[in-house]
Symmetry: C2
Subunit: 150 residues, 2 copies
Amino acid sequence: MEYPTSFLRSELVKKGIRPTYQRLKILELLHKKDTHPTAEEIYQILSPEIPALVKATIYNTLHTFVEAGLVRVVNINENELRYDSTIANHGHFKCKSCGAIFNFEINIDGMPFNGLNDFEIVEKNVYFIGFCPQCLNNQPKSIKKEKNGK
Amino acid sequence: MEYPTSFLRSELVKKGIRPTYQRLKILELLHKKDTHPTAEEIYQILSPEIPALVKATIYNTLHTFVEAGLVRVVNINENELRYDSTIANHGHFKCKSCGAIFNFEINIDGMPFNGLNDFEIVEKNVYFIGFCPQCLNNQPKSIKKEKNGK
DNA sequence: GTTCCTGCAAAAGCTTTGCAGAAGA
DNA sequence: TCTTCTGCAAAGCTTTTGCAGGAAC
């Protein structure tokens, strides 16, 4: 998928966020990468292109985006925050071996549940944990014993 | 629910974990409290009872429990790790206002999904975010505008 | 020109690690 | 007695904050 600058720019302007170069690049990356990068990963990817870029800016930018509802924080085990720009109904699958996060289709709103009668539900999330096909192929014997991908 | 020391003790011994006083207290707390306390909260609760207790011990103990499969890490938005001793099939609901986490019934294994054909699924999780009845009653007008409970 | 953002550096917060003494087997 | 755990202190990471110069409007 391609995201022209004009599209990204209007996405920001619509929310009252100044479309600076850094913000456009970070938003573009979040749209392109579907692996839900961490702040650190965003830094690693954009740093060569924007040498002056600093992590504080990435953190500030991500906060701005989250507050505006442009991206969502995905947070699956481990102590790390990942960011997701797809707000549609989907589940997240995290590979215990390589740590990658995949989207998959699931009708979250169709799931029956009990015990939240007087609660107001704002957001529903589903996440699975296991092993991705690539990791299963690479180490079919030992993979089950691995603790995590760190 | 009451958890006699002998029960807790055997739970640990079964997993090959030495049933020290600190570990028994932490495990007991995780069973009693269904709000999925953080390491910090565990420290706050047990500190008066065990003045010498130190956070490093709590972190180490929680790691030990997680590795043994006695407790699970629950991790819903925000940058904090919570621990859950109930391993059965249930969802977690996090209140945006007070930050408390509630369990609710949901048949996770019954949910249909697509796009994970060659994946090996080890664990399935569901979490909802919204407002709990208590917070809805306390501030029925302003609650929707609140960002989070921090 | 004014407002707001970025980069930089320093601080803050949470978690981990190394080690000596204490507790458990 | 031997092994393993706890408490303590220090280190390590990630994230946040304050401020001056710079970019956006």
